[in-house]
Amino acid sequence: MSDTTQTGPVLAADGTPLKRSLARALRMQKIRALMLIAPLLLFVLLTFILPIADMLFRSVENQIVSETLPRTVVALKDWDASSGETPDEAVYAALAEDMKIAAQAKLHTRVGSRLNYEKPGISSLFRKAGRKVKKWDIENDGPFKEKFLDLHKGWGDPDVWRTIQTYSPKFTNGYFLNAADMQKGADGAEMRPENERIYWTLFKRTLFMSLVITTSCIVLGYPVAWILANLPSKSANLLMILVLLPFWTSLLVRTSAWKVMLQQQGVINDTLVWLGLVADDARLVMINNQFGTIVAMTHILLPFMILPMYSVMQTINPTYLRAAKSLGATNWTSFWRVYFPQSVPGIGAGSILVFILSIGYYITPELVGGTKGVFISNRIAFHISTSLNWGLAAALGAILLAVVLLLYYAYDKIVGIDNVKLG
């Protein structure tokens, strides 16, 4: 009773104001919750988010030129690239000094290979010059313009200097332009020549084929999931093993198995020839093209479609269907109006899984895709491990990531992400 008559803030049992005490308790709770998820959070941050951020950063980073050739970059600032003439002696002298220091630290060839991505031939220009310049006396050996031109006529090519000038800023959009089949020409960004455009085609193909694969997974997976969900659990479990067995089999084994099946001297063609349906000299071409990739990837990704569909369908109450029928609906109407709408969240979940997995797929297209069935991921892998153009690989990866996020956003707006259920 005395509490009600008291004026001032309400106090907790230990005499602190209740508001503060409550806030403290809540904070403790939050910290405890945070501590519990901290290992996972740190793990995700260190192994997933930071590497991705680092990779995205590489797509614009270009410090190597200005760090290795600082004097040249400054001296080259006022040179007019459109004049069609080589820079003057001051630039060559600056380059000689930079190059000598860089060659002693063995850094000149790195800049060379960086710039070679933009203009073929620069790599050997730097490699060869480094050997000689190391021995020059910067104080007394000038003028350097002639000496450089004596080393290689490439140093008198204004295009080489334009490339150095264009790529001297610390950050560049060059990789992204490259990833969009463009380049930095004399007057800003321009499309690459027709015979060098490839990424745009590959992006379109990747999206198109991923869509086809997702659709065929839906078409093939839906009836299977329906049967699984409606059979008595004993036989459903047996069937489930058939779905899961390929899921547990190595990816490479399944891909190679498709090679054995689909190739021209393979099982399917042999059978068709034996049956007389196909002439021996006109065997079907079913592999090393888009068809092969779609077949193999649909098979590989099918479990990712069936499992979420199955778990959603299991939750659909069969009495609804019976009710619809008892009210006079045909089989089709009761399925289409009552059952199907309830199974859509499963289709949504499966589609997102399959689509996002297939958009980044690498090994199967590489093995069965031939030339027309490869994805953008194959080019990313090429730039990571063979051409070492990590900046370009990062730009391609960033674009792919952006496309996926955009599609995810669109999906959320159209279907609504709340409608996706995994069970």
Binding site: T109, P120, S123, N195, E196, T201, G266, T371
Partner: protein, 367 residues
Amino acid sequence: MKLTKMSALVATTALCAPMAMAEDMANELTIVSWGGAYSASQKAAYHDPYTAKTGVKIINDESSAEAVAKIRAMNEAGNVTWDVVDVVASDAMRLCDEGLAEELDHDAVLAAAPDGTPASEDFGNLIVSDCFVPQIVYSTTFGYRTDLVGDTAPTSVCAIFDLDAYPGKRSLQKRPIDNMEWALYCDGVAKDEIYDVLSTPEGIDRGLAKLDTIKDSVVWWTAGAQTPQLLADGEVVMGSTFNGRLFSAIAEQNQPIGMLWDMQSFDLDGWIVPAGLSAERKARAMDYLFFATDTQRLADQAAYISYGPARKSSAPLVGKHATLGIDMAPHMPTDPANAGNVHTYDYEWWADNRDDIDAKFQAWLAK
């Protein structure tokens, strides 16, 4: 002047090196190679004898296909875990350019030939980069199905482009290197002018146009094992791959495959030591290289796999196959009977132009 001083210094260090105590060197060695029969041949010819001699434990890693990218990543992370890495010459050049491989003085690090010829002369012009210790000469060449080519077995590389005489599919590596050269050669370009022609945009178009004539009949491969498999299945009539793969399909698996050595493309494979190793590990790596690339060891490897030893002094020592007992010399790409008409691939030129030509090649493939 400076140079002679340097080499004198290096020479003295080299003289002192064998005298250094064993504890100055690491007792473990991680060696990276290609795996399969190739790693097995290295294990038999180099690793096992080296372990027997020194007691050093050798760990095999089969990552050579991704070696350049991985070394770069390790280097950026500041934690290089490999000691000696087996790479092809063009990769060695890239690693050297990027400062990711150790530059070596070949005469100081490697053993001289038994007659005293210094290593640099014994290897000769196969030392294509300051970081590279050549090990074998291999070639990318063609195999054909003896039962599918009719009565006239192909004798020229241009059979690849002859769909009338040799109908059916052929397999080629999915990259411009070698294919562009073969295309131009078969389009009538003289062998010593190939790279001059290829340096012009018209030359590239011309090469691609020649390849375009057989584009629909080509199966493109990315792993060396694919062509032997395609040949064995009868999927292709002829195809390019590494000569050692064809040797094992012919000699070890008795497949009906014949060798087409014309215009075989010589390439080199060898060792590099990654930059950034600690002094003990580097000393151990150099000690291993000294041992594993001497005249006898290089000849020993040829008993297990049909790749030619990179030293001139090793050639006379090449003997018989370790298990099959057949003479290995006639199966070597360097054998005079096979090396009548070879194509020597220009590393420097490809290092400069690879990215550019590859972009055009891939755009052509995707068309």
